[in-house]
Amino acid sequence: MTKKGYVILLLVGLGIALLVTLFSPLASSKPDGLERVAEDKAFVDKGKDAPYQVIADYAFPWVDNEDAATVLAGIVGVLVVTTLVIGLGLGFTALSRRASLSAAKSGGPAPPVSGGGGTASGGDAASRGKS
């Protein structure tokens, strides 16, 4: 896939997710599975409020219109989740690239840094610790 392919994938995927959040005010507000069971079987009262609230109940605070608050909460959530996962993913790929680089030169004891990879000193320390 080309770089452009990634961007298109990202935009289309995000577009679908954001489109879904636009419809979230239409979602059923009936109690869902566990909630229903908790009510029917009378243990719903054991539930406790969260110790703090950020965007509780998928309603963005300070927005009076309920539908707008829900959509706004959805958009924020989609963007946060996407950023978090892509950040984690990029971190993992960077780590694995560094690990394979340091594995490639882990033959000798702490060789001088070769020009090829340009790894940070942390990579050397990691490979020394491993071997």
Partner: protein, 237 residues
């Protein structure tokens, strides 16, 4: 079975299969955190070794869509609703280990930012919705791929449907056990109730997942990697 019709007050703690604070005892919550930590650690290790750069945007998009889809509660019978869990979908799209990362991120954000699922229950929420469905759903999906070479026909979508339904039932089963061990509700009460409701919710899960997978297979088949038939030994890198 008769559901009493009463104006249900909006609960301050939305759940789904998301367990709120107060439902799990301290020791049970601790076991949940331990289980989640073990599987997330394995997932991070495996993803570290095998994650291609090409998977990263797909992981992000998968997380975005599952978060959005989880907001769309669909009605099931008896004044009840349900929503997608998405574990099977994530596993098929990005593979099981990356899917655990995706699901953990979604459930983490829901718990920490949206107060959907309690802090004390976060471990078991991750395990119930982000580990069990991913691993079991992928396993059944993998079996289904053995029976079909092409990507056309009904075998794969049917397999995806069955896999999704089973994972919802397993998540409901696990949740019931955790509630029972915590002393929140006796097993003979909570288990049949949870399984009954989620047998219906699972149908929604199956339909959505099968439709989504079919959609991706027809529009962008290159995104879904066929499971490797021979398990690679050791690191590929």
């Amino acid at each position: 079975m008769a559901y009493i019709i009463l104006p249900t007050p909006a609960l301050p703690y939305p759940t789904a299969m998301h367990i709120p604070d107060g439902f799990l005892s301290g020791p049970v919550a601790a076991v949940g955190y331990a289980l989640a930590a073990v599987f997330v650690a394995i997932a991070v290790g495996r993803t570290n070794r095998s994650l291609g750069e090409k998977s990263v945007p797909l992981m992000g998009v998968t997380a975005a869509c599952i978060f959005a889809a989880q907001m769309m509660n669909f009605p099931v019978t008896g004044g009840t609703s349900g929503h997608l869990l998405g574990g099977t979908l994530a596993a098929i799209l990005v593979g099981p280990w990356a899917a655990i990362i995706v699901m953990t991120s979604v459930i983490g954000v829901q718990g920490l930012m949206f107060q959907d699922g309690g802090l004390s229950a976060l471990g078991f929420n991750i395990f119930n919705m982000g580990v069990i469905p991913v691993l079991v759903g992928y396993g059944i999906y993998y079996l289904a791929t053995l029976f079909t070479d092409g990507r056309r026909g009904w075998i794969l979508p049917t397999g995806v449907f069955v896999a999704s339904w089973i994972t919802v039932m397993l998540a409901a089963f696990a949740t019931s056990i955790e509630l029972a061990v915590s002393g929140t509700s006796p097993l003979h009460v909570v288990l049949p109730a949870m399984m009954g409701v989620h047998a219906l919710i699972g149908i929604g899960e199956g339909l959505i997942t099968a439709a989504a997978v079919t959609f991706v297979l027809t529009t962008r088949p290159d995104l879904i990697e066929q499971p490797q038939r021979v398990a690679p030994q050791g690191g590929l890198s």
